[in-house]
């Protein structure tokens, strides 16, 4: 289990990670979702001690990463498949990990088979690898110590559809045997396909978290009025949280009948009122992405 508590990371005045807390549970695949630059990679680097957090802690089964005596046997990590010496062969990179962890040499060939790298491919230098092959090698390095926790940053990048399916089955099996899997992605679809739990992050903050079922089928209402400000005020007065959808409408978790009553009482003429049809997560995600594209308008 990975526990993140009130994690904050400041670069000068920029808040890359802003007070985030979540857990990734054993036996489940947790998807860490967010647009590029949302703070996913920074959070993952902090988890494994490559970056020092300004505040907050991360523990893995109750211990800090740096306190693990032989971390490779307990936590498998893949942060960037391209961060390898281009002049080493794939097999050599696995041998280095095997030796650091003090594992039997046979483990290297076993892992090559698990990630479907042929002996011939394993003898090639990494500079000649495609991104997909690098990802497979990186996953092999993460798995070689047979750890109970996996931390993978964008592992599906560069994999073809068959590769993504393969990885989904691999991680599924891993979690089903009691392992903890945390993987990040900037693609909602990837996370939808693989994850059981979703933590969505934008601008360094968690914007939503829960099980996939909860989040994807979240009830909600889309409501629109000519006087959007008055509508928003009325809903907020009722204690309802509203989110702009990006095209002038509001989304709220309340159901349509309540929203209609609130609007009637406030005397706001509605132009649209409908169920959000489980699109809450996707809309929230698009909102985040478009906000990033509009140069950092806070979500």
């Amino acid at each position: 289990m990975i526990t993140v508590e009130s994690l904050t990371m400041k670069y000068g005045r920029t808040l890359a990670v802003d007070d985030i807390s979540f857990t990734a549970s054993a036996g489940r695949v947790t998807g860490f979702l967010g647009p590029n630059g949302a703070g996913k990679s920074t959070t993952m680097r902090i988890m494994v001690g490559l970056t020092r957090a300004t505040q907050g802690t991360v523990t893995i089964d109750g211990r800090r990463f740096a306190d693990l005596p032989n971390p490779g046997l307990e936590v498998g990590v893949l942060l960037d498949a391209s961060a390898q010496h281009a002049g080493r062969t794939g097999r050599e990179i696995l041998v280095l990990a095997q030796q650091f962890m003090g594992l039997p040499r046979t483990r290297v060939e076993e892992m090559l088979e698990v990630v479907s790298l042929t002996p011939d491919e394993a003898s090639r230098r990494v500079r000649d690898y495609s991104l997909g092959m690098r990802q497979r090698l990186g996953i092999a390095t993460a798995l070689i110590g047979d750890p109970e926790v996996l931390i993978l940053d964008e592992p599906a990048n560069g994999l073809d559809p068959a590769g993504i399916r393969w990885m989904r089955d691999l991680l599924r099996g891993y979690a089903d045997r009691g392992g903890t899997v945390l993987l990040s992605s900037h693609l909602l679809h990837e996370i939808e396909v693989i994850a059981d739990d979703i933590v969505m992050i934008g601008h360094g903050r968690i914007v939503s978290q829960g099980t996939k079922t909860e989040l994807l089928h979240e009830a909600g209402t889309i409501v629109r009025a000519d006087n959007a400000i008055q509508l928003e005020l009325a809903l907020t007065d009722w204690g309802l949280t509203t989110h702009p959808t990006g095209d002038g409408a509001l989304r709220t978790e309340a159901d349509a009948s309540l929203v209609g009553k609130v609007a009637l009482q406030a005397g706001v003429a509605l132009t649209e009122l409908r169920a959000a049809e489980g699109a809450g997560l996707e809309e929230m995600f698009l909102e985040l992405t478009s906000a990033t594209q509009r140069e950092g308008v806070p979500a």
């Binding site: 494994v48 970056t51 693990l68 490779g72 010496h85 650091f100 698990v114």
Partner: protein
């Protein structure tokens, strides 16, 4: 596409032991050899040592065909190559970004850095043993080919001086790798420190009287020159020069570099 299980089911492990430093050092040594560039860099020590010995046999005047001439000639290529090995051992973790894996598998950076230092020194000592062997072969061969008398004019103490001097050069390279953490920058800095700076100090010493007496306390190459002359034992004052220049040019910047390495973010 195989879907073999990733490993055994997660049976509770027996107590996990910390990774011993000997194992980290062994892996770090392996990393210095396991790329083509690393392998040839180390091989080039042997190659240039043989070339330098050959050069002495061909060109040295008969009277100077002694063991010390061989050892001195071989020193020049080796003193350039050896620090490069130490520099690249450190900087490649950043320039090739392998640090992302290394510092995750061993989350205590000082252990990796120590292992690299020990590994570099082991290579330096092995390289010195090779240098002495090639020098001895050259001396025997030179005497045989040219019919000159066989002269062994180096004592064991002087051999140890020589090894010590070479290890100091290597450690300067290591220090620059730690301090700068970029291959090109560290290599350029090494050449400035070893070749350009001593020349400038020499010019200053010959033109300014006040610097003349100060030079041995400031110029590390000047202070260490006694280690490589195969002449006589060093005096206490010469050791003091080596100590003071070593403190200024090696220990202090190394401490700064180590502090930076411990705190720097690995990306």
């Amino acid at each position: 596409m195989t879907t073999i299980a990733a490993g055994s089911s997660h049976t509770p492990r027996t107590a996990v032991h910390p990774v011993p430093l000997t194992r980290i050092t062994a892996v770090e040594l392996r990393k210095m050899f396991d790329t083509r560039s690393g392998f040839w860099l180390i091989a080039s020590i042997a190659i240039t040592a043989v070339l330098a010995a050959g050069g002495v046999i061909v060109w040295a005047p008969d009277g100077q065909l002694t063991y010390s001439t061989f050892a001195t000639a071989i020193r020049f290529p080796v003193v350039i190559i050896l620090p490069l090995i130490a520099i690249l051992a450190v900087t490649s973790e950043w320039s090739q970004r392998t640090g992302l894996t290394t510092f995750t598998l061993i989350p205590h950076r000082y252990r990796i850095i120590s292992a690299k230092a020990i590994g570099s020194v082991i290579i330096a000592i092995a390289a010195m043993a090779l240098t002495f062997a090639v020098g001895a072969l050259g001396n025997l061969l030179g005497a045989g080919v040219k019919g000159a008398p066989l002269v062994w004019d180096v004592t064991l103490t002087q051999c140890l001086y020589y090894v010590f001097g070479m290890v100091l050069s290597l450690l300067v390279g290591f220090m620059l790798g730690v301090l700068i953490r970029a291959s090109t920058g560290a290599i350029v800095a090494y050449f400035i420190l070893t070749f350009l700076l001593p020349t400038l100090f020499g010019l200053l010493a010959s033109s300014a009287q006040w610097f003349h007496t100060l030079q041995p306390w400031v110029d590390s190459q000047f202070a260490q020159s006694g280690l490589f002359v195969f002449d006589k034992s060093l005096t206490g004052e010469q050791w003091a020069h080596i100590g003071v220049t070593g403190l200024i040019w090696l220990v202090l910047p190394l401490l700064v570099g180590l502090r930076l390495v411990m705190r720097a973010e690995v990306k």
